[in-house]
């Protein structure tokens, strides 16, 4: 609890870090913030060509572009947060070595900076809905608890990976590979319906599988995700995030000696 109180005192620093990350990312680029739209949009086009046209992957009766885009933006949010969060300490090594501030501010800033991209990408999704004349229902509100679950789960991951990265840079390499495998183990480019019944219990041990499937159901199918499943994952993610945060704070004390 003391940790959280201190973190709140540094809320201005979090915003400053996030602003720095966003500004620095688009400084000296001609297109600037447009990249936040261009990137997921072009990915959607590529995925549509490869998975839908070439590989004939079904999309549960939804136009494939919306089908993939709606889950892709949330996956990108996860992947960006994890890969940037993992290196957050080492990328700011000079700061960590010289000045005290709660180190997790750097992690929260990653969420905010990547969150801006998500927001922009999400607004494009709404335009896609209009283009494909697709109706939203009230179930879209389910996105919020799902997003909270995703955030908690991502926090748990990057609290651990960023702390480990200070000691072992190996994890940076391993993670890029891991994220790619993880992508294929998550129903982003394909629907859950293509996963065989036998594999499903194992398949849904991946929290991102349940979360991404939940987004798709509530956004595209006007469906309500399994309340128990979402609730269980929320609880698990909450506990994991809490434990990981404490581990992070314990490790934090010697970051400056090792980094």
């Amino acid at each position: 609890m003391n940790y959280l109180r201190e973190l709140r005192e540094y809320s201005h620093l979090i915003v400053s870090f996030a602003r720095r990350d966003i500004r620095a990312r688009y400084k000296q680029t001609a297109l600037g913030i447009a990249w936040a739209i261009l990137q997921p949009f072009s990915l959607m086009v590529v995925f549509t060509l490869v998975f839908s046209r070439l590989a004939q992957i079904p999309s549960d009766g939804v136009p494939y572009p919306i089908f993939v885009y709606s889950s892709l933006i949330f996956w990108t949010y996860f992947a960006t947060s994890v890969s940037q969060g993992t290196v957050a300490m080492t990328a700011n090594a000079t700061l960590v070595r010289k000045i005290y501030f709660p180190r997790e501010t750097l992690l929260v800033a990653v969420f905010l900076a990547a969150g801006l991209d998500l927001l922009i990408a999400f607004s494009i999704l709404l335009l896609l809905f209009i283009y494909f004349q697709y109706a939203l229902t009230w179930t879209v509100l389910w996105v919020l608890p799902l997003l909270l679950t995703q955030l908690l789960f991502t926090s748990a991951v990057i609290c651990l990976t960023s702390a480990i990265h200070v000691y072992f840079r190996d994890i940076g390499h391993a993670l890029q590979l891991g994220l790619q495998l993880w992508f294929y183990a998550t129903p982003v480019a394909y629907p859950v319906s293509v996963v065989s019944q036998k594999l499903k219990p194992l398949y849904f041990l991946n929290p991102m599988a349940s979360i991404i499937d939940g987004y798709r159901r509530s956004l595209l199918h006007g469906d309500v995700p399994d309340f128990e499943v979402v609730g269980a994952w929320l609880l698990i993610a909450f506990i994991l995030a809490g434990v990981a945060y404490i581990v992070f704070k314990k490790a934090e004390a010697t970051f400056a000696d090792v980094i």
Partner: protein, 428 residues
């Protein structure tokens, strides 16, 4: 007690000397871990104690200087104090907001403008946005960056960057301020500004911990001095007394006569080298204590290779920080060494010594006749401990007192002094 700002209670900090887990020595580490689990009592990894059982208290409003040789543990102490790292054992407490003038500008992002970086750096140092807003103009005035405010800092000169960093740090208004060697940045005018800022904070009853190699600065500004030596607190007390004691230890560490350990040739007999260096006072006694204004001789025993025609002896003086204060060569003095055969003793007579009170290291080197190649170097061959007027009084400054006198000339107004100046420049 209520007015204690900083408490250190048996604080220790150790660092592991070897990196533990890596692919190369994973076997060793697993064995060590196994032994620890089974035997519970094995030789631990090798450690280096940067600090060992350091205890002290600093009262609110006190200005305390921290002195000690390089690697004595001053930086580790500051790091613990500023919470960058935590001690291995012991407790410490700091009351109130802490600000650090360590590594100013560390938080700058090169792509951001000066203005954006002021807000970022201010936030890193714990200021709120409205607080930075209200101090913004003062910070910019202090930094003197003027028109470059909206230029990305990657285009700044290093001087501008340091000034801006210091300006932000100086306006944090902490209850406890840590200052580490920053008084050495910037030009003379900016340094004066920094010292004024320090005096201002001091008058506002802030607690200041000052680390500096410049002992004169320490004595001048501090109420008390802590001397850190090999990770322990060696002395604490009146600045004059502690600095005095410190200087004596530094100077007695090496013997008064120094046998040359050739740094270049590994002591091979046949090569040109410096054999020994010593300091003699006016009475011809070997010593390292000399008086300002007295005659002092530095004797350098050397031998030179036959093939080396006309070698040159060079003596340079450094302050405790290692800055070169001036060097002299036998060539400049018009002395020819070759005439004396392959070995001999060269004497450099300082008449008189013009250094202010303090310790100066004397480095000796032997060069070829072209002054291009070092035949031998003997860094910090001996120390010159000078007694005399001290810069800590503020009446003089720096390390050298020039031969001089003052005069007052009647009827020279400020404006005519100006024209004098201008004439001088034009004639140059």
């Amino acid at each position: 007690m209520d007015d204690i700002a900083i408490t250190f209670n048996f604080v220790s900090k150790k660092y592991g000397l070897k990196r533990g887990w890596s692919f190369a020595n994973i076997g060793n580490e697993i064995r060590r871990l196994g032994q620890q689990l089974v035997l519970r009592d094995t030789a631990p990894r090798e450690y280096f104690w940067a600090l060992k059982d350091v205890s002290f208290e600093i009262r609110r409003g006190e200005t305390v200087g921290l002195i000690g040789a390089n690697g004595a543990g001053k930086s580790t102490l500051l790091k613990i104090l500023s919470r960058i790292t935590s001690p291995s054992s012991g407790r410490f407490e700091v009351k109130g907001r802490l600000g650090a003038l360590i590594e100013v500008g560390a938080g700058f992002h090169p792509e951001l403008t000066g203005r954006e970086n002021v807000y970022l750096n201010g936030a890193i140092m714990g200021m709120r946005k409205d607080e930075i807003d209200s101090k913004f103009n003062r910070i910019i005035d202090f930094s003197e960056i003027g028109q470059f405010l909206d230029t990305p800092t990657k285009h700044y000169s290093s001087g501008m960057e340091v000034r801006l960093g210091f300006a932000v740090a100086a306006h944090v208004d902490p209850d406890v301020l840590l200052v580490d060697e920053v008084l050495a940045v910037g030009d003379a005018a900016f340094q004066a500004k920094c010292l004024n800022k320090l005096a201002e904070l001091k008058s506002q009853d802030r607690t200041i911990v000052l680390v500096s190699h410049n002992l004169a600065n320490i004595v001048q500004h501090c109420d008390r001095v802590l001397w850190i030596d090999h990770g322990t607190l060696r002395a604490s007390g009146d600045p004059d007394d502690v600095v005095e004691e410190y200087l004596r230890t530094v100077s007695t560490l090496p013997m008064a006569i120094h046998k040359g350990k050739s740094a270049l040739n590994g002591g091979k007999k046949e090569s040109s080298r410096i054999i020994s260096v010593c300091i003699k006072n006016a009475r011809g006694e070997t010593t390292d204590l000399v008086e300002y204004g007295a005659e002092t001789t530095i004797e350098i025993e050397y031998c030179s290779d036959d093939s080396e025609l006309d070698p040159v002896v060079c003596v340079t003086f450094q302050d405790v920080q290692g800055y070169n204060l001036g060097g002299l060569t036998s060539r400049f003095g018009g002395l020819k060494l070759e005439a004396r055969g392959t070995s001999g003793t060269a004497r450099l007579i300082l008449s008189p010594v013009l250094f202010t009170r303090g310790v100066y290291s004397v480095s000796v080197s032997l060069l070829d006749s072209q002054l291009q190649k070092f035949l031998d170097v003997f860094p910090a061959a001996c120390y010159l401990v000078v007694e005399g007027p001290s810069a800590a009084t503020g009446q003089i400054s720096g390390h050298v007192i020039f031969p001089h006198r003052w005069e007052i000339v009647d009827g020279c107004s400020l404006s005519s002094a100006h024209t004098c100046n201008r004439v001088l420049i034009e004639t140059m």
